[in-house]
């Protein structure tokens, strides 16, 4: 958000991983604190007020999503970047729907991680290729059939809002390229649009992902867990 280095909190239950990330990020960011579970993380974030929280999807005291939803009510300007080794899609989508601004895998390179942190700090969304795949998958299902849904709390409202529940073809195109490992710059070149436009598309997808009430998302996640 600022021209200065972003202030970052690391939340991960593996100490070794935290110190590793800290060492890698070096002076490019200002790591203001570390936490290893849900409750300490919430306390730390409220106290430190960081720009970005690097959040492990899996924490002993519950999913990373718990941290996000607890903090976002009171401190909406704190941004979350989910970080995971497991890639269980329902967890990833859960964290994003709770309010995280992006998701990257732990295998990400340092440069890319720094780039992602800066991007999230400035309010953009960060989609790893895998998240793009999940989102495409989740939104690819057919539109809601009215009355067809006893699949979780989100199914209470079976209304279908095309504005929120469908991706535009351009958004799909962008996501497909992200899923194929393209960077934003490469996508811009491939589709003859500006990087800014790519970012806009991605943010729009993120918004849909977070706000869509379609039970498909839930059902998709359930199916994925069963598979």
């Amino acid at each position: 958000m600022s021209a200065t280095v972003p202030r970052v909190v690391l939340v991960d239950d593996h100490g070794i991983f935290r110190s590793g990330v800290r060492a890698e990020l070096g002076s490019a960011v200002d790591v203001v604190g570390e936490a290893d579970d849900v409750a300490p993380a919430i306390a730390l974030i409220e106290q430190a007020q960081p720009d970005v929280v690097l959040l492990d999807v899996h924490l002993p005291g519950g999913g990373g999503g718990k941290v996000v939803s607890a903090v976002r009510e009171r401190w909406p300007e704190v941004r979350f970047l989910a970080l995971s080794a497991s890639d269980a899609p329902e967890d990833v989508i859960g964290v994003i729907r709770a309010g995280a601004r992006g998701y990257v895998t732990k295998t990400i390179s340092t440069a890319e991680l720094l780039d992602a942190i800066r991007r999230v700090a400035s309010g953009d969304a960060v989609f790893s290729h895998r998240l793009a795949g999940f989102v495409l998958d989740a939104f690819a299902s057919l539109p809601d059939s009215p009355g067809g849904g006893a699949g979780g709390p989100a199914a209470v409202k079976p209304s279908f809002d095309p504005e929120l529940d469908q991706l535009t073809s351009r958004e799909r195109e962008v996501l497909r390229l992200i899923a194929q490992g393209y960077t934003y710059k490469e996508i811009a070149r491939e589709l003859y649009i500006s990087v800014k436009t790519v970012e806009t598309h991605v943010s729009s997808v993120l918004r849909k992902l977070q706000l869509s009430s379609r039970h498909q998302l839930t059902r998709w996640a359930t199916e994925r867990r069963l598979a």
């Binding site: 295998t107 795949g133 690819a140 598979a227």
Partner: protein
Amino acid sequence: MPPCPNPGHHGGMDEPTWPPGPPGGWRHDRHGHARHGRWREDRADRLAAHVHWWRGGWNWKALRRDSGDRLIGGVAAGMARFRGLNPTTVRIVFVVVALWTQGWFLPFYCIGWLLIPGGGGAAGSPEQAGGVSLAPAVGVAAAAVPGDATDGTSIWSRARQDSRGITLALAVSSLFAVFLVLAGALNDELIQTYGWPQVVTVACLVLIWRNAPRGEQAALRRLVAPLGGLGSDTDRRSTVIRLGLACVLLAIGTGWLLTTHESLAVLQPLGGFVLIVGAAVIMLGPWWLRIARDLVLERQARARAEERADMAARIHDSVLQTLALIQRRADDPAQVTQLARAQERELRSWLFEGRAPGSMAEVSSLVEGVRRIQQDAEARHGVPVEVVTVGDCPLDSDLEALLAAAREAVVNAAKWSGAAVISLFAEVTDDDVELVVRDRGRGFDPGSVPGDRRGMAESIHGRMNRHGGTVSVHTAVGEGTKVSLKMPRNAMSSTRSGA
């Protein structure tokens, strides 16, 4: 992802691009240039002839039968060309006139066939064939083979000197006339009106048959081949017997049909019809059978060729790839042994257990197959493969081919691109399945891939084409490679998310 250079004589990784092919380019250019020049001359001549024709009104010398666009004698096409009309229109007019004139058109057609010189069309245009700008080579050929199609003389000009032919024509036509007299005695105005003009037709046909230029004779033989049942290469006597039988049936059937109105029997027309059909079957049956048999044989040959190509692709993907790998790891005996052992196992299971190398025997879904590709590539080549899948579906033989092609693309990328990571994207939609293999490696120049490199051509393009899929490859030196493979889905097996 550069092309896969199997057995690897060419050094491999250290070689940025393939050596260009033999310097054939300039020769091609020069050749093209020379042709261009001749074409221009040619055109100028034609233009001149055209102008001349225009000034002189109807230049009857330009009327030529068109041996290039012929149905029977090329008379209609020749007329059409002469007056700048559509040949089909002229043909339709001919047929209408033929029906209208009650059999008198046929002899006129044959006389035209006899008198109008041939050669139009075959050499490109009537003006050209008329000797205005005949290429010297063609002229020589025409002189060397007397009576060739392009010499531009009429059949009559030769038939005049064919005294035996004239005798024969007279004999045959008189025989036909006798038959007509006999038939006329039995009944019937139909034969009388339609039959008599054909005396001339028969005479003309005999002359044409004996004196047509060689090219035309071949065409004629093709035209009447069905009548002979192509029996010449089997047994001549059986053909004669067969044709004789058919002619008897034909005669009786025709007679029956034609005498209907004098008879009271209702069954007669039916009987006549049956006999005529029987005659047609006896005459043409063997020919039809032969065509059907040829079709079956052709299809079998194509199936065999495809099978062979599939097998070549498989051997390339397994044995040749491993051999290349062994050559590159020659300094590591343990690794070489391991590779050789694995390859041996794979080959044995293919040859003796029928399990094709790289096959997805135990794999039932697309996502599983993609994961398998990822594991294999990472294990064999040590290059991480980032997999993203959207949707899933059960495998069928088409999708197995898709996976095999994708595996080859991944292996190529792992071996030759030098990229640190390869991304493999799979998306299942309702209509098709797309796999995209992408790397940020060194790329290659598609134009410089030697023709005998099977990796791209056979394992990817050939395979996809055989199964109805499409391939698009985007690459440039230094810019990485993207291979998109798309396979349409069978409507039957479409489910999402592995449900």
